[in-house]
Symmetry: C2
Subunit: 298 residues, 2 copies
């Protein structure tokens, strides 16, 4: 059921009304000072906020308006996936310069497609003017046992989802003045948050989990630093996106695959929920310094 309160008059409300008309049942209960959300008993609230800024996270010519909305939403939802959480709702805060008013409906369409894809809804938000377009997504989720990045233990196996390096290869193409292939462009523009996989990992005793928004090397370093261990990655086992390099796969970020530490006895098929699922290394005893502690085996 969609239950919106009637909104008052004024231009801001006209814009909000047109967003709500676009979202239809993909938005719920908008119109009060705050959204009211039921958090299932026995679970904890898991919440994250993520910003997409024009000229920083993308250039306008790289992405269609729908893709800007989709990508920003999936990037935020990926943080819930990395905790093993189930989405409860999304809040959308827009800063919209005049020149971005026309595509706003299509950006909202991309957000609507993304929330529908993962079975959640827009529950609130904010709309403001400003000189730079930005989109801040706050994602709410719940988990009985949220998985952080600080619990990896020596002996755990490290697994990664998907084939890595595609978004970095796409960025390199754009930044050197050429165009990525359609497949590579789609890989950058249409990420999927690995929510089902994240829950599978939580259910199978994952001791640490993180998404790859900052790239595999950096993120493995975060797990190492937070867990007080060393991560050994075997680069010859890395699943690399066709057309990308091992360097792209190791250093490139901007992708929303998961890196998880699982007890060594956990067995998994080579693909889960439509994504490749690869063992790429192990957790060993180490100093866990602030800078992380990583051994890259080539």
């Amino acid at each position: 059921m969609t239950a919106h309160l009637p909104l008052g008059p004024g231009a801001e409300f006209d814009s909000i009304r047109s967003l709500l008309a676009r979202w239809g049942p993909r938005a719920q209960g908008i119109g009060d000072d705050a959204a009211v959300v039921d958090v299932p008993q026995g679970t904890k609230l898991v919440v994250s906020t993520d910003g997409t800024v024009e000229g920083v996270h993308f250039r306008r010519e790289w992405l269609t308006p729908e893709e800007i909305g989709w990508r920003g939403t999936m990037a935020a939802l990926s943080d819930l996936a990395a905790m093993g959480a189930t989405p409860l709702g999304v809040l959308v805060s827009f800063t919209v310069p005049t020149r971005w008013r026309d595509p706003l409906g299509l950006i909202a369409e991309g957000i609507g497609e993304a929330v529908a894809r993962v079975g959640t809804t827009v529950v609130g938000g904010n709309l403001s003017g400003g000189d730079t377009f930005s989109l801040t997504l706050t994602v709410l989720g719940s988990a009985a046992r949220p998985v952080g990045r600080g619990g990896a233990r020596p002996g755990d196996r490290l697994w990664v989802s998907g084939n890595l390096g595609g978004p970095n290869a796409a960025l390199r193409a754009w930044e050197t003045g050429s165009s990525p292939s359609d497949t590579l462009r789609q890989r950058f523009a249409r990420p999927e948050a690995r929510l089902e996989l994240g829950r599978w990992c939580a259910d199978h005793g994952a001791t640490a989990m993180i998404d790859l928004s900052d790239g595999l090397r950096a993120e493995a370093g975060h797990i190492a630093a937070a867990s007080g261990v060393r991560c050994r990655l075997e680069t010859n086992r890395l699943p690399v996106w066709s057309g990308a390099s091992v360097e792209d796969a190791l250093e490139g970020g901007e992708e929303y695959e998961l890196l998880a530490a699982l007890p060594s006895e956990v067995r998994a098929p080579p693909s889960l929920f439509g994504a490749a699922w690869s063992p790429i290394g192990e957790v060993v005893v180490g100093s866990g310094s602030e800078g992380g502690d990583l051994v890259i085996l080539t």
Copy 2:
């Protein structure tokens, strides 16, 4: 207890580390992909997001960096007050141009003062570059019985907190090239979210509640529209800020007082939790059109 995970390397993390050092125990549990928050059993999650954009919501010369942080945080918390909720935590998303890097610590100080003032903490956030400074605050709260704006019934009395019109008078001074008095400037720069008062109203059976960020006339119209009633306001009963006009009090927004509809039998003292508390009208039968339905008696 402050429990932060060690962060990995990199410039973004250096900035985050310096914010965390500034906040000390006023930030908690930062460092995972998402924050984990306990929502007390028997309550609902109440959540709102609010943006403060340079050049739209304030000009840099009007406010000190601490005041930018304080005001943005209290403005967002005011939405929890208007639902009768108790804060559980705050997420802070910054977009920071190079020229704003120096004052960032002082802005964070203002945020820290505001969260400490209301007994909550920063539980997460995001930091990004960009051309325009903005601050998006997402506030999490809980309430056993959240109060929306759609439940006002004919016969209810309308109450308002504080003395109104000060922020509008301050804005008028700045916009006509003069300077507001110190007291008036403080009134704009240092609002207080009326959280205790909001909970008092919820506990006393408030049927509708809203904050005055868009001004009394507009907000009373929102209650009327959402509740399908008419609001009668008696302007000669309006508590007006010294030096402001009735017009400022009725039309000016940018202030964070509460307007509540309470059952007529509820009695209250003329001041509650340090703020004036004034009966200013009543709810009557009306059409509750989209544009609201308001009778202003002068």
